[in-house]
């Protein structure tokens, strides 16, 4: 067996990097920032991650999505060993944890309750996230009075100022398979088709509601999580590393 030396600290950062790619699809934020990662324990056998959520009644489909995404992300880490992901304190904890341990997949985990897959659900929320990101970018441009409001439909990605809002929009577009071309229009529908001038105002107005909804749910979930677990902040994650081997 060839030996690839991975320093202990590198394993830790690789694990956290992997977990930070897992998004809450509904809140459009990484589970690491939301405080949903309760603990990470690394040992010679592998890694065990416990997840937690703001309430026992958070939607089980989203709970499953995040847990299985975490499992997939961790398995892609080099030299990780066995990966165990467990969801704590949820009304479906037993069902989801059993399903994850057995690699049963979504339908295998939920049995007759699941009909197809979660792809459509994921797409719905990716689209909402994209809509909100688009609104943030355009609102910023309009606030700066950098564009004639009647010409918003002509705004291109190239014309957006660099920064968090733009890179977030580009990430959402990438996830949805929409054009990343700098000359592409910012104001597009869910399938990436540019909007006509007349359709822009209503689309933007609806997009604002979507953004407010996503942001508001984020406030609510963070608050409930902190209350539920008596956290002073949402970063109460415990990381233990008892690994003795370096490869």
């Amino acid at each position: 067996m060839s030996v690839v030396v991975v320093p202990v600290e590198a394993v830790e950062s690789a694990i956290m990097a992997a977990l930070s790619t897992v998004m809450d699809p509904e809140l459009d934020q990484p589970i690491t920032e939301l405080g949903f990662v309760r603990s990470v324990a690394v040992d010679d056998a592998g890694v065990t991650v416990h997840l937690r959520l703001p309430t026992a009644f958070c939607s089980p489909n989203f709970a499953y999505l995040m847990a299985s995404d975490a499992l997939d992300a961790l398995r892609a880490v080099d030299d990780i060993g066995d990966v165990r992901v467990l969801l704590d304190d949820h009304h479906d904890s037993d069902k989801i944890n059993t399903g994850l341990a057995a690699d049963a997949g979504y339908v295998g985990t939920f049995g007759s309750e699941a009909q197809e897959s979660l792809d459509a659900l994921r797409l719905t929320f990716l689209r909402k996230a994209h809509t909100a990101a688009m609104e943030r970018c355009v609102a910023e441009v309009l606030r700066r009075k950098a564009i004639d409001p009647a010409e918003v439909h002509l705004l291109t990605l190239r014309e957006l100022p660099d920064g968090g809002a733009k890179s977030a929009l580009l990430r959402r577009r990438f996830s949805l398979g929409l054009s990343m071309c700098p000359n592409g229009r910012v104001m597009v529908d869910d399938d990436g088709h540019p909007l006509a001038a007349d359709d822009v105002p209503l689309r933007l107005r609806l997009a604002r509601s979507v953004r407010i909804s996503i942001e508001g749910n984020g406030h609510f979930c963070r608050g409930l999580l902190a209350t539920r677990y008596n956290d002073d902040d949402c970063n109460a994650m415990q990381f233990t590393n008892t690994r003795t081997r370096s490869a």
């Binding site: 026992a56 939607s59 659900l121 309009l142 107005r205 509601s209 979507v210 508001g216 406030h219 209350t227």
Partner: protein
């Protein structure tokens, strides 16, 4: 009635409960999880000085309710919304007979809305007819995410649900309160999806559909369907306590609701005992859209009067003293929702 700065407000609390979440009433772990989740909502969003201890919260009874609503809370009339949760609690979560009994003793102050579950089929329909006659029902509260045996929820446009809604029309029950919660089948979809409200609101225009919690966490989907339907209303329970913890977020929510569904379709509700009405009423009357949020118009006194009581009084035929009515009644003057009618400014 609440008075401030020379203005008087008739208060209808559109969503109150008497529940029993004590250990003696728990059927299983989910009952405990449910009341604990409620308590976290209460602790997280209430001002510190009005947070209850856990034991009081699990059961408080009718006397305490009368005091918190009518003696201390400025409420003129309150509407019980049943939450049965029979799969989680031995004698149900909401206390039907206690609440109904209280409403019978104080008909001027309390209205009792019962619940039904269309998954009980013909038997449940017969029960609904009996309940409607005995309780003189004007409204029902449906919790579409309630568990029942192997089922973890239903949709309003399911065939059996339609039969129950048609029976409501026959029985003169015109106000259908809908609480969308998680774990609705099919699990593959968004659990909070309000599309089924859209379908039945179109098909049963004789009924009013009051979407509790104004569709949160799907405010945008709710606003959108409400613009399409003239018989869809939004209840402020759960949204309004953000006035304390996150006033700017609350400003956005109320701003969006006023824009999309309009001032005649928004109903005040404390969701007592999740929150108590006293501080909610005080804060809402004092509330104003922050000046830098120029995208929303300031809220007027008359808009607040409609939201705090006059809209619900109209839905429930509650008599409002002449001096507390609006000079020009607004109810029913808006045929479709506000946002759908206007040109949309950038």
């Amino acid at each position: 009635m609440y008075q401030k700065d020379g203005n008087s407000y008739f208060i209808v609390d559109g969503h109150v409960h008497i529940w029993d979440g004590r250990a003696s009433n728990l059927k299983n772990i989910h009952g405990k999880q449910f009341i604990d989740c409620f308590y976290d909502y209460h602790r997280n969003l209430s001002p510190e000085e009005v947070v209850w201890d856990y034991d009081t919260y699990t059961y408080y009874g009718g006397e305490r309710l009368m005091r918190d609503l009518f003696s201390d809370g400025y409420v003129d009339h309150a509407i019980f919304q049943a939450t049965l949760l029979s799969d989680f609690y031995v004698n149900g979560f909401g206390q039907t007979e206690e609440a109904f009994g209280l409403a019978q003793r104080h008909p001027d102050k309390l209205t009792y809305n019962h619940a039904y579950d269309p998954r009980y089929g013909e038997m449940g329909l017969a029960q609904l007819r009996e309940d409607a006659a005995r309780m003189q029902l004007k409204g029902v509260k449906l919790y579409t995410a309630e568990w029942h045996g192997d089922s973890r929820g239903y949709k309003l446009d399911d065939p059996w649900s339609r039969r129950y809604l048609e029976e409501c029309i026959n029985l003169g029950i015109k106000n259908i309160h809908v609480h969308k919660g998680p774990t609705i089948r099919p699990l593959d979809r968004d659990a909070f999806d309000v599309a089924d409200v859209d379908k039945v609101a179109t098909d049963y225009t004789e009924l009013n559909f009051i979407v509790e919690h104004c569709g949160l966490p799907r405010l945008e989907d709710f606003c959108w369907i409400a613009t399409q339907e003239s018989n869809v209303y939004g209840g402020l329970a759960v949204a309004i306590p953000f006035i304390h913890t996150r006033p700017r977020y609350f400003a956005q929510v109320i701003g969006e609701l006023l824009y999309w569904i309009g001032e005649d379709k928004i109903l005040f509700a404390s969701d007592y005992a999740l929150w108590t009405p006293k501080w909610l009423v005080e804060r809402f009357v004092d509330f104003q859209i922050p000046e830098d949020m120029t995208e929303y118009a300031p809220i007027t006194v008359d808009q607040k009067r409609k939201i705090l009581g006059l809209n619900a009084a109209s839905l429930y035929d509650i008599d409002v003293p002449p001096e507390l009515r609006l000079a020009t009644p607004g109810q029913d003057t808006v045929e479709v929702a506000a946002g759908a009618k206007e040109a949309v400014p950038l």
